[in-house]
């Protein structure tokens, strides 16, 4: 088997698992002996010869197709075959060929991509000279040269680069979708090789490292050069898929090639999400199989009895094979009926469901109202199999930064030397709302200004121009004290690579106000100060971290003066101020409170002139601390603390974390649709709360907002219980759990508890960690689920996933997670539906999401319009599909009682073959692609329309049981009315009409018309397409029937079309048509009556709105309500600085910080859960350092 498969082109498992990789540079022979994969990749699955057999093999592994084959085999047994083979083969072939075509086109695309990638050129060092080589010919151990903006060929060990300190910059867009630059640094020993080809060719370092794996953030290995062994880590490794930026050239040693690269090792493994309807369907299919067996058993028992009573005597007319007896006959009949009644098992349903979901996904892709013009980003349904679930969302978990907010920080206000700037006032001194039209400050005097920067207060510019020393120092500080990397592609065109958008905003502000940060080296910072180029010597960077909440730089200006510039959280800075600043501090505090009240993020800025001697002394101690072997962090912190004191306050800056457009409205709409929104953010509690208010989640009219911020498990529990008791005093201690057991799987579902009034809950990261412990989880869930809005602050990515998992597991509800960054990936993957915000900086979230769009506000359209419609359509489709197939099949069941249980079909075999494929396929697809109860505007007008989806009202086990009964009724009508009408009757010329063929034609015509009318009753929205499909299908039915029953067809294919003449002979009889009319009316009118009465007696929300729409046809809709932007009255601290320690070490690493660059904090400090293990880790720094619980 193995050899056969490998001959067919499949890689059977490698014979030997690689334990360690060992390679030597420039020694192909040595490396080839290990048989490492070369750099060619193959993502395609088939080649010309293997395509057909392999693809078919795969397809037949699917249950549906296997079932078809099983039926086909049954049909080939003459004793059992109750239907001709073509009834199964035709649909099977159709399904197979559609899938085949799709797979073929997919694979061709993959082949093309493979070829394209494999044929890219790269310079490889072969035999002492650089040769251009195709990627696929690159071997492990080769040294390759990369130039700027080139893709990294394979996983490389960085040897040397054109940049100082052997640094290189890479962009990881293709790997994790992020566009900000990352830094890698080569070992000094290899870095010294430079671009000296001779030395590189002679380089014979040996690498021993881990075997190929998919961890993007980890690499362990050693490099042995000339007897010296150096350890290698991730900072020396360039991964395939990255792009070299801002680096002229670099050399790398290929460590992993092609399929062994981390990029390839990461691809192809995705979690398969299924919708709740899928799960329900699986249960139903099992039930249907049981039901099928039940029907067949009844019929085969009937057959046994019949054989016993009648069959033996009927022998005169139908002798049977020797040894036939009642029990054998019953056994064979069982299988014969399995063939005939197979249509109850909804095999073709799966194909249709895929088509529908695909169609509805296209509608999402096509929606112009979810298209963002600014970023030219349309919405995208990346997973096409989850649409209807969008109509059932109960919980939304949202990230804050970049999702609710734009992740665009704008320098908005500042307070300098006790004077507040940034507010626009009119002549009367009245505050003016800033709009698009407000006059902007003209920065044209500054040729280096960023044209995208807006500021509205002219006073500040004037102050700068007048040379006010405080204002100038303020901006000088902003231009110097940061870790931003500049990039100047062309003269005067500056781009900043900032660690955090806050910092970018501040540096940009300084730039526009005339203090342009131009370039930096490890030792210097070049600034253009009011047009004068100035270079500062950078002596130390006292980098930011979470505890310090501040950063400082120590610089020497051209005049030789030493200054320490510091920015940080107001509370921290204020503690370290010189007493002389006290007065200023008071004024500034007032300003800070004002800014915080507006939801701005504030920083306090201070400086201090240093004494040369003291600094030298400090520097030495600093050096000591920084080279200390143990407890270095703490020692450094203490050293920093020493010098950051007696600061002189300059002022404060306020940066606006801009909300995305329409966020408050969207949240209000979603809340009306009874969707609960939980914000999970890494931000501080205060910031999160601020945003919660400004985006309308937390409202002043809420009865109470509970804040859980405790330090021990017991306190957290107490606070949670207290909150719960307050909301619902009668709620008991025991959680209301509904246990159910289904198919051997035990499940627990926490029921909703009644609360009156709206509440909010804010819980901080520390408490959340306690609350997420096993014994407190349910307590948290109970309390949180009673609240309208929940905000979790300082949440780690892992906790985000845990919270989602908690709700997903214990609530019978559909969850949706929305986010934009790498820290949201785990939650996006965990939730039933993941939504990524695209068009922003990172793509990681989008890449792992199911749906993506550019703006948070599109979420309401996705859910309230597309989701609702998809759910409605899917449910209508399923209900109708089951109805039409059950009705179709049950008629056979009833006929069994009249044909000696002989598995005689009621209908013509051709009708059976194409009933699902042709006669009823298009109308139902039309219904489920175009139907809408009310249009999108009304959907927004009445978000309550969303509720039925959350409650699973349109398709459930109950609904299924109703369909079953309805089908039963219809099939009884459809069999017994023709039966009674045809019994003993004749044509108007006395000839036969009660013959089998006429009866078959009558029964199938009745059926088709009855189900078509039912479809009509189910259709709310009759487009021309629906009309065309319905009438077209009926016409096709008659056309096909008359054709198949024509003389010509019989003369050509005699035995295939024995129904010759039946249509002509019976469809000209009035009593045939009267029978058809009677069955149609009997099938449809009860439905109409029932629906009408229900609308009158128990109208659903849907009925009411539809009624309203009808009445409002003439009257235009009221204009969309305006949402006033709230001003928050309560003062809240607005300090927030989304920053982690950054390039600080790096930019100065050439100087005195001789310690190697530390690895960045990993995203998931505790990787015990599978979520963390399977999630590729990324370089994106999260905003707050992960807190350990």
């Amino acid at each position: 088997m193995g050899s056969l498969l490998s001959a067919c082109g499949i890689n059977v498992k490698k014979k030997k698992v690689e334990e360690e990789r060992h390679l030597r540079a420039n020694d192909r022979e040595f490396n080839l002996s290990f048989k490492y994969a070369n750099n060619a990749i193959k993502t395609s699955k088939y080649n010309v010869f293997t395509f057909l057999p392999l693809n078919l093999f795969e397809q037949f592994q699917r249950l549906a197709n296997a079932y078809f084959v099983f039926l086909l085999i049954l049909q080939l047994i003459p004793q059992i075959s109750s239907l001709s083979w073509f009834t199964t083969v035709v649909p099977l072939l159709l399904v197979l060929s559609i899938t085949l075509a799709k797979d073929l086109s997919d694979d061709i695309t993959r082949h093309k991509n493979d070829n394209h990638v494999n044929n890219r050129k790269v310079e490889v060092l072969i035999d002492g000279e650089l040769k251009s080589e195709k990627w696929m010919n690159v071997q492990v151990g080769d040294i390759v040269k990369l130039e700027n903006n080139e893709f990294v060929t394979a996983d490389l060990l960085l040897l040397s680069s054109s940049e100082p300190l052997n640094l290189i910059y890479i962009e990881t867009a293709e790997l994790d979708g992020e566009t900000n630059l990352k830094v890698k640094q080569a070992l000094t020993i290899t870095g010294d090789l430079g671009n000296d080809i001779q030395r590189l060719a002679a380089f014979s370092g040996e690498v021993r490292c881990e075997p190929p794996n998919n961890r993007l953030d980890k690499f362990t290995g050693t490099l042995t050069v000339g007897g010296e062994t150096l350890s290698l880590d991730n900072d020396r490794i360039l991964l395939r898929g990255c792009t070299l930026r801002n680096t002229e050239w670099c050399f790398g040693l290929v460590v992993f090639g092609g399929p062994d690269t981390k990029l390839m090792q990461n691809s192809g493994k995705s979690i398969f999400k299924r919708t709740s309807i899928d799960h329900l369907m699986n249960v139903l299919v099992i039930f249907i199989f049981g039901f099928l067996a039940f029907m067949c058993t009844i019929l085969s028992i009937g057959n046994a009895i019949w054989e016993y009573q009648e069959g033996n005597s009927f022998i005169a007319f139908l002798p049977r094979a020797d040894g036939a007896n009642a029990s054998l006959s019953a056994f064979l009949t069982f299988w014969s009926y399995v063939i005939i009644l197979n249509t109850v098992v909804p095999i073709s349903l799966y194909v249709s469901v895929e088509i529908l979901r695909l169609g509805n996904s296209y509608f999402i892709d096509w929606d112009r109202k979810m298209y963002h013009v600014k970023s030219d980003t349309p919405a995208q349904a990346r997973t096409t199999t989850l649409n209807e679930e969008l109509g059932q969302i109960k919980y939304i978990f949202s990230d804050k930064t970049g999702t609710l907010t734009q992740n665009i920080m704008t320098f908005n206000r500042c307070s300098i030397n006790g004077k507040s700037y940034g507010e626009v006032v009119d002549f009367a001194g009245q505050r003016v709302e800033v709009t698009e039209k407000t006059e902007k400050v003209d920065f044209s005097w500054n040729s280096l200004a960023d044209p995208k920067f807006y500021f509205h207060d002219h006073k500040l510019v004037e102050a700068v121009k007048l040379g006010s020393p405080e204002v100038q120092s303020f901006f000088r500080l902003l231009a110097l004290c940061h870790t931003v990397m500049p990039e100047e592609k062309t003269e005067g065109e500056l781009f900043y690579q900032a660690q955090s958008p806050d910092e970018g905003a501040l540096v940009t502000a300084a730039r526009n106000f005339g203090f342009v940060f131009r370039s930096r080296t490890p030792e210097t910072i070049s600034v253009v100060e009011m047009g004068v180029p100035t270079t500062y010597k950078l002596l130390a960077v006292l980098d930011f971290n979470n505890v310090r909440k501040r950063m400082s730089v120590i610089v020497r200006n051209p005049e030789g003066k030493l200054t320490l510039y510091c920015k940080g959280a107001d509370t921290i800075i204020f503690e370290r101020l010189h007493p002389s600043s006290t007065k200023l501090m008071e004024v500034t505090t007032e300003h800070l409170n004002e800014y915080a009240g507006e939801g701005l993020r504030t920083l306090a800025l201070a400086y201090k002139d240093l004494d040369e001697d003291k600094f030298e002394e400090w520097r030495e101690r600093h050096h000591e601390a920084s080279t200390a072997l143990d407890d270095r962090e703490a020692k450094l912190d203490a050293i920093y603390e020493e010098i950051e004191k007696d600061l002189l306050l300059l002022g404060a800056s306020a940066v606006e974390d801009k909300l995305q457009d329409g966020v408050p409205q969207t949240i209000e709409q979603l809340a009306k649709a009874d969707i609960k929104i939980w914000v999970l953010t890494g931000d501080k509690q205060e910031t999160a709360e601020n945003i919660g208010y400004s985006c309308n989640m937390l409202r002043e009219e809420m009865k109470e907002i509970f804040i859980v911020a405790a330090n021990t498990a017991e306190e957290v529990r107490e606070e949670l219980v207290n909150a719960r008791k307050k909301m619902s005093p009668e709620s008991g201690d025991e959680p209301p759990i509904q246990k159910s057991r289904l198919l051997g799987k035990k499940s627990q579902v926490l029921e909703d508890e009644k609360v009156d009034g709206e509440y909010g809950l804010v819980i901080n990261g520390h408490s959340l960690a306690f609350a997420l412990q096993k014994d407190m989880q349910l307590e948290l869930l109970r309390t949180a689920c009673m609240c309208q809005a929940v905000i979790c602050c300082r949440v780690t990515p892992l906790q985000k996933a845990q919270v989602v998992e908690l709700v997903k597991k214990n609530k019978k509800a559909v969850t949706l997670a929305i986010g934009d960054g790498a820290n949201d990936v785990s939650m996006i993957k965990t939730a039933h539906i993941g939504v990524g915000i695209s068009g922003q900086e990172g793509m990681q979230a989008v890449l792992s999401s199911d749906f993506s769009f550019a703006q948070f506000r599109y979420l309401q359209r996705l859910l309230l319009v597309h989701g609702r419609w998809s759910y409605l359509r899917m449910c209508k489709f399923l209900r109708y599909f089951f109805y039409k197939n059950f009705t179709f099949t049950f008629v056979h069941f009833w006929y069994g009682f009249f044909c000696g249980f002989s598995a005689q079909t009621v209908y013509d075999e051709w009708f059976i073959t194409i009933y699902n494929l042709m006669y009823t396929a298009l109308p139902v697809i039309g219904l489920s692609l175009f139907d809408q109860d009310v249009n999108d505007r009304w959907s927004f007008q009445y978000p309550q329309l969303y509720a039925p989806g959350q409650l699973n009202q349109y398709f459930s086990k109950m609904a299924f049981a109703r369909i079953l009964l309805h089908s039963c009724y219809s099939s009884l009508i459809l069999f017994f009315v023709p039966w009674a009408a045809m019994c003993d009757t004749v044509r108007d010329d006395g000839k036969d009409i009660a013959d089998y063929q006429s009866f078959a034609l009558l029964a199938q015509t009745c059926l088709l018309i009855a189900v078509s009318v039912q479809l009509g009753l189910d259709t709310y929205y009759w487009t021309a397409v629906n009309q065309f499909f319905l009438w077209g299908s009926l016409s096709v039915y008659f056309a096909v029937t008359f054709t198949m029953y024509s003389n010509g067809m019989y003369l050509i294919f005699t035995s295939s079309f024995p129904f010759i003449g039946t249509a002509r002979n019976s469809l000209n009889q009035p009593n045939v048509w009267l029978t058809i009319l009677l069955t149609t009316i009997l099938c449809s009118l009860p439905v109409v009556a029932k629906r009408f009465l229900f609308i009158q007696l128990k109208p659903t929300i849907n009925d009411k709105v539809r009624h309203k729409v009808r009445q409002a046809k003439a009257v235009p809709l009221p204009p969309p309500r305006k949402f006033p932007r709230r001003r928050i009255s309560t003062r809240r601290s607005g300090y927030a600085f989304s920053h982690a320690r950054g390039y600080g070490d790096l930019v100065t690493s050439g100087r005195f910080l001789r310690i190697p660059v530390k690895t960045r904090p990993t995203l998931f400090p505790h990787s015990e859960t599978p979520v963390a293990d399977s999630t590729p880790q990324t370089y994106r720094t999260i905003f707050e350092e992960a807190q350990s619980p």
Partner: protein, 342 residues
């Protein structure tokens, strides 16, 4: 970097992609449903009355001649293995049986719709394809070959079990029997006679030669080419009785057209009087508890007598009217008020 203002990815603005296709959106409003039910109800009652009255005008005379009970005239013929048994069934008509009268034979508890029975024939043979005369299709099994491996034509269970009772109808006028002429022409479907079934072309001028090497079905006393020696157009596969039999019935109780009474004195129908039906009793049905009957019937525009349709239309029509009243009451009493806050 994307240029601002460039909108290459913007979806098309068509009614289809934006799901704004113009559409008719009917709802089940009282204004449509209640009058609709009433109208349908009235129409159905009208049709029902018509159908019912028409059905009443059709006369049907049905006589079971199986001879289960001892006192029945054909009881004597039910003894197994009896040959050439004849019995007479007497009946009288008090009024004219309006013509044209159709003469049916009927079988009960006879499963012509049994699947294996139904497939047991060879369409190619029956289109006169002599290739299949010597090699009947497997579907005919076990009636494809006899025990001596001679192919059977026409093969299969349906042909083999062809109904072979024959009838003669006499009017008894003053003690003498006057034979009523029975017309056996054109009792099968036109398509069966002209398209579906074909005789083989005669070989050497002889029709019988075309069947050489084959044998008649086991239950048949004579070969298929001798079914009607008087009329070649009614012989072979084109024999009307054969065609009628081969069109198998949908239900286990069925009747098949045997003859029409359209000629001579009986063109207007069967006059009142006494009649005698001579039955050549050949067809055994008692083994499987079957029944045989003869039926005389005339027809109307709606075909043969069938009270069901008329009654069903009346009942459904009345229900619709009642329903419309109920719905009216419900609507008047319970209709949800429009200013209900949704």
């Amino acid at each position: 970097m994307k240029n601002e203002g460039e909108t290459t990815e913007q979806p098309d603005n068509t009614a289809f992609t934006q799901q704004r296709l113009p559409a008719w959106q009917p709802i089940l409003s009282a204004g449509i449903v209640i009058p609709g039910f009433l109208l349908i109800g009235l129409a159905f009652i009208g049709i029902g009355v018509g159908l019912f009255l028409t059905s009443q005008t059709i006369t049907v005379l049905e006589m079971d001649y199986t001879g289960v009970e001892k006192d029945k005239p054909c009881f004597g013929c039910t003894i197994p293995n009896i040959q050439n048994c004849t019995c007479e069934v007497q009946f009288s008509l008090s009024t004219l049986f309006k013509g044209p009268v159709f003469f049916y034979y009927g079988l009960s508890n006879y499963f012509q719709n049994f699947r294996k029975y139904g497939v047991s024939k060879d369409y190619y043979q029956l289109t006169g394809d002599t290739q299949y005369f010597t090699n009947p299709q497997d579907s005919c099994s076990p009636f494809a070959y006899d025990s001596k491996k001679n192919p059977i034509v026409p093969c299969g269970a349906i042909a083999n079990s062809m109904f072979n009772d024959t009838f003669e109808l006499y009017q008894l006028i003053n003690g003498t029997k006057k034979q009523v002429p029975l017309d056996g022409k054109g009792i099968s479907w036109w398509t069966d006679y002209n398209i579906k079934y074909r005789n083989p072309s005669p070989v050497n001028g002889s029709f019988a030669n075309a069947f050489s090497g084959t044998r008649n079905p086991i239950n048949w006393p004579k070969p298929v080419y001798e079914l009607d020696l008087t009329d070649q157009n009614n012989n072979g596969f084109l024999n009307q009785d054969f065609l009628v039999w081969m069109r198998r019935a949908a239900l286990p109780d069925f009747r098949k057209l045997y003859r029409r009474i359209t000629q001579g004195d009986y063109a207007e129908g069967l006059p009142a009087g006494n009649y005698s039906l001579t039955v050549h009793y050949n067809y055994p049905v008692l083994t499987f508890d079957g029944r045989k009957k003869v039926v005389f019937s005339n027809v109307s525009w709606m075909g043969g007598k069938n009270d069901f349709l008329g009654i069903a239309y009346l009942v459904v029509g009345s229900l619709c009217v009642v329903m419309s009243v109920v719905m009216l009451i419900v609507y008047a009493k319970f209709k949800f008020s429009d200013d209900d806050d949704v």
